[in-house]
Amino acid sequence: MIIRVQSEPFDLGAETNAFADAQNGMGAVVTFTGIVRDLPGEGLDRMEIEHYPGMTEKALEKIAQQASERWDLGDVLIIHRYGNLKADDRIMMVATSSRHRVHAFEAAEFLMDYLKSRAPFWKKEFTASGAEWVAAKDADEAALDRW
């Protein structure tokens, strides 16, 4: 179980290769990557991600632990950035490995659903005309009902 909360960029390809190399006979690896989207119109100057140091790591560990108990997983990786990001920057990734593709997929979706609504990160978008906190989506909260 690898959890990293960092301001530095991460190399998606290198992380994916390293995770797959270490999967140790699991057969199936799923990754999800979240990328900063530009804004229509005037465009995004930057995105700032605030987090709650200490709680963030605990929340992510708890989510990863729950996934590991619920599915037959080889390993779980979560990397999430905070601080300043630009459009097209990679915000975060999760990776799961399993003997069964369905487990790897479901666990990755579970991690994402919980991470969206239960890990203490907040996004703020800066444009030429000001800054705005990204609002949580009802759909993200509703997604938790699936599990």
Partner: protein, 81 residues
């Protein structure tokens, strides 16, 4: 007790954290105390349905006990991922 604020709660209250002397039994009691302090607290806590709370870094509810709590944090719904 350390009280922490994040995102727009932090911005409205104007500080990221403070020490609060309180004998509040629950989170809701603490909120009630803070609201009486100053306008900026009243504004930040005006709609509790728009807020989330963590006690000692665990998400919880506004009726949670503060017995033995060292750290309470208020923030809007999270938008990670």
């Amino acid at each position: 007790m350390d009280v922490l604020y994040f995102a727009w709660v932090r911005e409205r209250i104007g500080i990221p954290r403070e020490k609060v002397e309180t004998s509040a039994a629950t989170v809701a009691d603490l909120v009630a105390e803070l609201r009486t302090r100053e306008e900026r607290y009243e504004v930040a806590f005006s709609d509790l349905s728009a807020l989330r709370v963590a006690v000692d870094q665990e998400l919880t509810d506004f009726d949670a006990s503060l017995d033995g709590a060292r750290e309470v944090a208020f923030f809007p719904p999270m938008t990670g991922g």
